[in-house]
Amino acid sequence: MKRFIVAFLAAYIFIFFWGWLLNGVLLKDVYAQTPNLWRSQSEMMSLFHWIIIGQALVVFAFVMIYASGFAGGGVIAGIRLGILLEIAAIGMRMGFYAVQPFPGNLIVYGSVGGLIEMIIVGAIVGAIYKPGAPSFPPGPS
């Protein structure tokens, strides 16, 4: 439990700063090209707590999935989980691209950024979390 909390906090701190760097700095100009898709800056700031809670939920679920099925694999297993989950997320992003008028380059940048993010989150969680008994019976890979 202690390692679960430490892994969660470490991954959360990374994801918070990465989210700020990627979305708040690197992609700022790309977002500015599609103002009708976004809330105003002041409105976003008033809803900022939802970003904090959302990021915490993402990291919590990631650590739970890792602890349930991937425990004991270390950094490599964490990275592998991160990559697989992010490719699944890219599938979801393609669905949003189909129904919302996002520019294609934003989907590509978001996916590349997401892949880097999840690889590092996986490595952090894999390095810190050590297993008790796995909840899922591990299958052969």
Binding site: G54, V58, V99
Partner: protein, 141 residues
């Protein structure tokens, strides 16, 4: 990896997700989406003519990797383990939805429906995969 069972589980989960999302997003939430600010969603005709294949491709990618994660690391746990895995992935997805809510002009109604719908959808999809997928067994006599 038991590839035969993997592909059966993948196809069954994909068929379920395709039909569920068509009913949920295309029928149940149709009026809710129509009430969103103009320009946030693609017009229905544009979506059907030019972007529908992205939706199907995205669902295929998502379900393939959703199945892959379960089969690689947790296969053999049955429908219960599959449903639990689906709920954890739905929690991760809802975290991402909360972030979307903070930055896109979505309504709390859309957010609430996405949360509940995603939980039901992925718990069932996970249960389908868990019920179908069994790891390869090597028996010796």
């Amino acid at each position: 990896m038991n590839w035969k069972k993997f592909f059966i589980a993948f196809i069954a989960a994909f068929v379920f997700i395709f039909i569920f999302e068509w009913i949920f997003h295309g029928i149940v939430l149709k009026e809710t989406y129509a009430a969103l600010p103009p320009g946030l969603m693609r017009p229905a005709e544009e979506f059907m003519k030019h972007f529908f294949h992205w939706l199907v491709l995205g669902q295929l990618v998502f379900v393939f990797f959703f199945t892959m994660i379960f089969a690689s690391f947790a296969g053999g746990g049955g429908a219960g383990a599959g449903a639990r895995y689906g709920i954890l992935v739905a929690l991760l997805g809802f975290g991402a939805n909360l972030i979307q809510f903070a930055v896109h002009p979505l309504t709390t109604r859309v957010l609430g429906f996405w949360g509940i719908g995603g939980l039901i959808e992925l718990a069932i999809a996970g249960a389908i995969i868990g019920a179908i997928y069994k790891p390869s067994s090597h028996t010796t006599t």
